[in-house]
């Protein structure tokens, strides 16, 4: 144990940018964005966090049954992680507080996708490539990055006639408040890449603005609204009767669509899923919500 933790500490000092293609057989992951990136690269981790919620919110990529559940992201179970006996743990700055304990178990590779004020898509590409290199899967990684670009480009062309209106990307908090996804969110970045203008131009911190009252949606009257699920059950019926909601130009004119859940703090797989869902919604196949 002590020998390994010593080794782990030594390794982790030199983690990023070192282009040595170590062979890791047992990779564990605590961050969801990293988790879906690994799955996209066909690396099945031995353990990952909060699988119950992941299956509900991220939905794809689907989680192979042999992945062990490490419990809540807020308090990953270090004992379980230890018993999974990984040789590499993939993490992110959200888990900076847990670094000491993680390094005790195996070497830690930490990558950053989300930073306030920075559109995350390019960072997700970088991280995918870096992870690929680190795990000896450089080629699949760059292939995945290219495939993602192609998918988004295709989607952009599909939508090229429908992207004149700016779009509000929101997540409903309750019947009175929403959370807006801005330029530094994955959704916002993909939206721009699809050729749309984000109707939310105000600053956001960590991808989404804190709860905003609904009337803020009136500031760009010509915009459309895309609601990312899930919608709280009481909000659904309250909204349908809300005079203010029904009076919003976009609601009155039927420019509101609801898209299925996507992990708001994901990597390329989430970006692709979002692009696909948004394309479906805007090319008329999406489930319309009526005010």
């Amino acid at each position: 144990m002590t020998r390994r933790s010593l080794l782990g500490a030594g390794l982790s000092l030199t983690f990023i940018g070192k282009a040595q293609a170590d062979r890791y057989d047992r990779v564990a992951v605590v961050d969801w964005a990293m988790f879906e990136t690994l799955l996209a690269l066909n690396v099945v981790p031995v353990a990952a966090t909060e699988l119950v919620q992941f299956r509900k919110i991220s939905i794809e990529p689907s989680v192979p049954p042999q992945v062990a559940d490490l419990g809540l992201r807020g308090s990953p179970n270090f004992e379980m992680l230890q018993l999974a006996n990984p040789d590499l743990i993939v993490s992110s700055p959200w888990f900076a507080w847990a670094r000491g304990n993680l390094e005790r178990i195996a070497s830690v590779a930490s990558y950053t996708i989300y930073e306030p004020g920075r559109p995350p898509y390019a960072a997700a590409e970088e991280v995918t490539k870096a992870l690929g290199e680190r795990l000896g899967r450089a080629e699949p990684a760059s292939a995945y990055v290219d495939a993602s670009l192609t998918e988004i480009e295709t989607a952009r062309r599909t939508l090229s006639e429908r992207n004149a209106r700016p779009v509000y990307l929101i997540n409903l908090g309750d019947a009175r408040h929403f959370r807006a996804f801005g330029a530094d969110s994955m959704f916002g970045d993909v939206l721009t890449r699809l050729g749309f203008t984000n109707a939310w131009s105000k600053p956001t911190s960590y991808a989404a603005a804190a709860p905003v009252p609904l009337e803020a949606l009136a500031e760009v009257p010509e915009a459309s609204i895309a609601i990312v699920s899930p919608i709280p059950s009481d909000a659904q019926s309250t909204l349908a009767q809300s005079p203010l909601w029904r009076a919003l130009p976009s609601v009155r004119e039927g420019r509101v669509s609801v898209i299925a859940p996507v992990n708001p703090f994901g990597a390329l797989p989430a970006a692709r899923r979002f692009a696909r869902l948004l394309t479906e919604a805007f090319s008329g196949n999406g489930k319309p919500i009526h005010g």
Binding site: L83, R104, K202, P243, L244
Partner: protein
């Protein structure tokens, strides 16, 4: 009443407040003119009629409802600091609504008010059960309210944490937003308020008789019990309706009746008229200021947090002006039934039990394949994660138990427990500030932030202690005010609903799973030093409860010794709550258990409590690790599962 008002300069303050609130509202309306936009739709008209005006109406009505609720609560309980937030009614409603959101979402859709009312009534019933024996004595009622609301908070946090990000609505709701988009909320609150006002005035005369005293009221043939219960129920209904409709708006219920009295309202009826009016203006004005401050930024600024900013200082201002009822002296659970004369053997037994608990917690665990007894290399592999958290839990339990013993002995109040000092809530504010200032703080930085928060609250407590002579209860209430104030700030910080909010929630619900060796050593070292100094304080603890006269006769520096004891308890609580969160029911329960076992003498009582506290906390930590493996439950959940029922039993038993 009008005469009384016009003769006072405070009338001018009232008129000024109304004028300001009106001005702010007019400003909101003028901002929307002209009503018809150029684009061919009249959005501004819609905003005016469905957002701005209903918001003003809701502020006025909710303020009035809370004011009336506070006035009723204060009269019925004869308690000048009773209000929906200090009594935990709001937290009870929150817990009920969180539970309903998770397990019966349809219920929340159709009957949120009923759910909230059930939660609020539950809390009040519990409070009555807890404090009945002591004649609903104000300090006990409020202390019990604090404890109950902390338990409710921890349970809500557990539920939210276990269900991920999609509990954003509950976070919004917890920080109280007056945002409106129609007249639904206005109608709901107006209906409740109207019915309650009628009922309150029908009850006003009999209530005035109640306030004479119980004996003369009975001789007048008033059915006391039912009258008081009815008035209580109305107050709870008012408060929970507001919480169900718009969220937690703290302290208006406290401030309104207080201002009414300051403005010269004398009788029951005066207060019942003035408090709703003042509450209405107060909330309207606060909300106007909040909207003004929000200005261009679209983000929602929680009005509930702003009213808390008002309430904390108000409580501190009130404390020196309160007159407390003299209590009956027999308050701690009697230890005489079975007094231990030779304490060595029982103490060694307790020590062994605590050690065995710690050892079992180290060895027994669960793995992917079910239960496992760790030994040899498996134990070696797991020890770096188990040992720090178990040691930390034990040390924290020991410190909380010591703090609880000191507080209970010093104040003679059996419900005094460490969290009432407010220092742990201070740690929460420090932690929140740090999480929002740094992008990815490590564990060391988090400890520093929390310590800074604790230090600020300690200084505030010390400032109160300097001004007070011989009233440790006021000190407790000062701590309570600081705590409620800090909790409101933490609630407001959580509204972002992002990862930082979840880290705060994790701390509130109590979690030792993040503790490593560094933190464990720090906590252990602090525990050793502070607990090691305890023997120096035992003489004070033995003498102080006898009363100030006795203490002076024995040559005790009264104020200095009280201050030092409080600081000591605060230090112990702070060190513990940095790692186990603000919920410290172990500190309430352990001293009682020690006493019930027969450890009466101060030194033995302290030692036994410490051992029991260490064992209890270790057990709670073990449960939190085991029950839903690999998902870890918050420590606070089990601490309340141990503490809550005990509390109820304790007060019931005394009857």
């Amino acid at each position: 009443m009008v005469d009384a008002l016009t003769q006072r300069p405070s009338t001018w303050a009232g008129i000024l407040a109304v004028a300001m609130a009106l001005g702010l509202c007019a400003y909101q309306v003028l901002n929307l003119l002209p009503l018809s936009g150029a684009q061919g739709f009249d959005l501004n008209r819609i905003l005016l009629f469905n957002s701005v005006l209903p918001r003003a109406a809701v502020a006025l009505l909710a303020g009035a409802a809370l004011g009336l609720s506070g006035a009723l609560l204060q009269q019925v309980l004869r308690n000048p600091i009773a209000d929906p937030s200090t009594l935990g009614i709001a937290s009870g409603a929150q817990l009920a609504m969180t539970t309903a959101t998770l397990f019966a979402p349809a219920l929340m859709d159709t009957s949120r008010e009923v759910v909230a009312l059930a939660g609020g009534l539950g809390v009040v019933a519990l409070l009555l059960a807890l404090a009945w024996k002591r004649g609903l004595e104000p300090v006990t009622v409020v202390l019990a309210g604090m404890v109950v609301s902390l338990i409710a908070m921890a349970l809500s946090a557990t539920l939210i944490l276990a269900n991920g990000e999609y509990m954003m609505s509950l976070l919004i709701w917890g920080s109280g937003s007056l945002t409106q988009q129609g007249w639904d909320h206005v109608q709901a609150i107006a209906t409740t308020l109207a019915l309650s006002l009628v009922a309150a005035f029908l009850l006003a005369r009999p209530l005035a008789i109640v306030s004479l005293d119980d004996a003369s009221a009975k001789s007048l043939g008033v059915n006391l019990l039912w009258l008081r219960l009815l008035a209580l129920a109305i107050a709870v209904w008012l408060a929970t309706t507001v919480t169900a409709e718009i969220g937690i708006i703290g302290f208006i219920g406290l401030a309104a009746p207080t201002f009414a009295r300051l403005f010269g309202a004398r009788g029951q009826k005066d207060t019942l008229i003035a408090a709703p009016l003042i509450g209405a203006v107060l909330l309207w004005l606060t909300d106007g200021l909040v909207q003004l401050a929000a200005g261009g930024s679209a983000e929602m600024v929680p009005t509930g947090a702003a009213t808390a900013l008002l309430g904390g200082p108000l409580l501190l201002y009130l404390l020196p002006r309160l007159r407390f009822l003299r209590r009956s002296p027999a308050s701690l659970p009697p230890a005489s039934e079975r007094r231990i004369t030779r304490p060595v053997l029982p103490l060694i037994t307790l020590l062994l039990l605590a050690l065995i608990t710690i050892a079992l917690a180290l060895i027994i665990g669960r793995g992917p394949d079910g239960w496992s007894l760790a030994a040899g290399s498996l134990l070696d592999a797991l020890l770096p994660f188990r040992a720090p958290r178990i040691l930390t839990a034990a040390a924290a339990g020991a410190m909380l138990a010591a703090a609880g013993t000191i507080l209970q002995r010093m104040t003679g109040n059996p419900i005094a427990s460490p969290e009432v000092l407010g220092v742990s809530a201070g740690a929460g504010v420090g932690l929140a500030a740090l999480l929002f200032a740094l992008s990815a703080p490590g564990m060391g930085e988090r400890l520093l932030g929390a310590t800074a928060g604790v230090a600020v609250v300690l200084v505030a407590l010390l400032a109160i202690a300097q001004r007070q002579e011989d009233n440790s209860e006021r000190l407790l209430l000062g701590g309570l005010a600081a705590g409620a104030f800090c909790n409101a700030l933490v609630n407001a910080a959580m509204i972002t609903g992002d990862a930082r909010a979840f880290q705060l929630l994790a701390w509130i619900s109590g979690s030792t799973s993040q503790v490593g060796w560094t933190e464990a050593w720090i906590v252990l070292a602090v525990a050793m030093v502070l607990l090691g100094l305890l023997p120096l304080l035992t003489r004070w603890l033995a003498v102080l409860p006898l009363g100030s006269g006795q203490a002076r006769a024995l040559g005790l520096p009264l104020r200095a010794s009280q201050t030092i004891l409080i600081l000591f308890a605060a230090g112990l609580t702070a060190a513990a709550s940095l790692v186990v969160g603000p919920l410290s029911l172990v500190g309430l329960v352990a001293p009682h258990m020690a006493r019930l076992l027969g450890f009466g003498q101060v030194r033995q009582h302290l030692l036994a409590s410490i051992l029991i506290g260490a064992g209890l906390m270790t057990g709670a930590d073990w449960l939190s690790r085991i029950v839903t493996f690999p998902y870890q439950l918050p420590l606070g959940l089990f601490a309340s599962l141990i503490g809550g029922p005990y509390l109820v039993w304790l007060l019931h038993r005394n009857r």
